[in-house]
Symmetry: C2
Subunit: 242 residues, 2 copies
DNA sequence: CGGAGGTTTGACTGCGCTCAACTGAGGTGG
DNA sequence: CCACCTCAGTTGAGCGCAGTCAAACCTCCG
């Protein structure tokens, strides 16, 4: 007995566009169950052709891919509301792996009904494409970060992005939010070494802009951090939810 | 009088999944005209909410975005068959600019009919999402390249990707294909300086792997180049065409 | 002929990487 | 209950890949 979508914890967050009653009941049919995983558990594997798609309900994870020399690139951090497995669902092959970093609860969809989804509910199909476009937009910014920003700019930028995402999801209290990743995760996300990432985080802490320890991120001066990261704060924009 | 889709030069390329007669006639209704632009012409602007979407029919271009410090990140190179403007079409804001690098012929679609598109032709909606997924997949690889590969690996990787794309589009003869970009374009795509890009290209030429001058790329040893770039050659995969 | 943009080369510099050692918090087993 | 291991974070020393600066060269074009 899985939770009904109408009681989905994400429905209430103002980060997402609310669904109509009709949509909710359709999603309940599409939904095939729930899955909970523990930290470190792989959810999808790079190169795999997974039969299932997910929406992260609670918890956080990571998308990454590994090169033949063992180097790892973190593609993005997974937050509640993120749709997981689009590439497998549509192209039949994941370009990256997804792994849990905390306890996670996932909403499970069957890939076999994916096409049916497009045929019978064009507005939901549109939302999937919307999510894909958001992802593409974001990855463009990441590219510019890794390619053009210095280490301190990149880390400042990343922290601003993460914090804003946390804000929209209501994860921030007293300028603090949970950030259950390792410095290695962040380093691999930005193409930096762990050592340099550590020192750069130290410099930002020294400047009283942020502190991050014990899996808690605290932002002391978001505006100043955004300036260092050469980015502007964007108003909250709602996104669709699957 | 614009060319009918059934005579579209791209329809014949084996890089693309052929459209049914029914799809072709629908696309002809969706198509609002054609546009030709000269090298250097901006097609879409970062941050803009463009009313039109395009498919590149002939010619090549570039997607890029500019930071506040003037640095430029090239997101990707635009080839014939590429769909341009998805972000504007669906989110209302482009995350990057698109600019022609050669004479280009573009197929123009009206954004106002985009939604109609999803509603009346789910298989075409699916194809749009498919294209978005391909783009996301590719950008993950680019991230790994910029973040993890050294300069020589990155350039080798990029040249392999470009060459394979050229092959699938029938642009390659005698191991040569047109590559109408500047070294600065390539440098900005890979997060390298022009100077270092130039020297690295020289090193690859020295190794007899490739040569690139006068806007023509020649690959002498694709397999060896792929090895340097830490990538494997992928069989030709068809993609949808809009 | 002069200017602009792209390519090439050399000299120097520095940001960020590697190597290495140490700390501290858990977790596990003797 | 402590010895031991592992994993994440921290810090210092030294180095190298790639950036910056600068100048020359080339082609195209007005």
């Amino acid at each position: 007995m899985t939770t009904q979508c109408r009681y989905c914890p994400l429905q209430r967050k103002d980060a997402f566009i609310p669904m109509s009653k009709e949509e909710l009941s359709f999603m309940e049919k599409f939904k095939s169950g729930e899955l909970t995983v523990e930290p470190g558990t792989p959810i999808l594997l790079e190169g795999s052709n997974a039969p299932q798609l997910y929406t992260a309900l609670t918890g956080m994870g990571i998308r990454d891919k590994t090169l033949e020399n063992g180097n790892r690139q973190v593609i993005s951090f997974v937050f509640p509301g993120d749709f997981i497995g689009l590439q497998a669902g549509i192209m039949g092959e994941m370009g990256h792996s997804v792994e849990a970093r905390t306890h996670m609860r996932l909403c499970v969809f069957n890939r076999s009904e994916f096409w049916n989804f497009f045929k019978s509910h064009p507005e939901r199909a549109f939302d999937i494409t919307w999510l894909a476009a958001i992802e593409e937009h974001f990855m463009g910014e990441v590219l510019a970060t890794i390619g053009q920003r210095t280490a301190i700019q990149a880390i400042a930028w990343a922290m601003v992005k993460i914090f804003e995402r946390g804000q929209s999801l209501g994860m921030v209290t007293h300028n603090q939010m949970p950030l259950p990743y390792s410095q290695r995760d962040l380093a691999d996300a930005l193409g930096l070494s762990v050592v340099h990432t550590n020192k750069t985080l130290g410099a930002l802490k020294e400047r009283q802009l942020l502190s991050w320890s014990d899996r808690v991120l605290q932002i002391n001066n978001l505006a100043a951090l955004a300036k260092v990261g050469m980015t502007s704060l964007e108003g909250r924009q709602k996104r669709p939810l699957l």
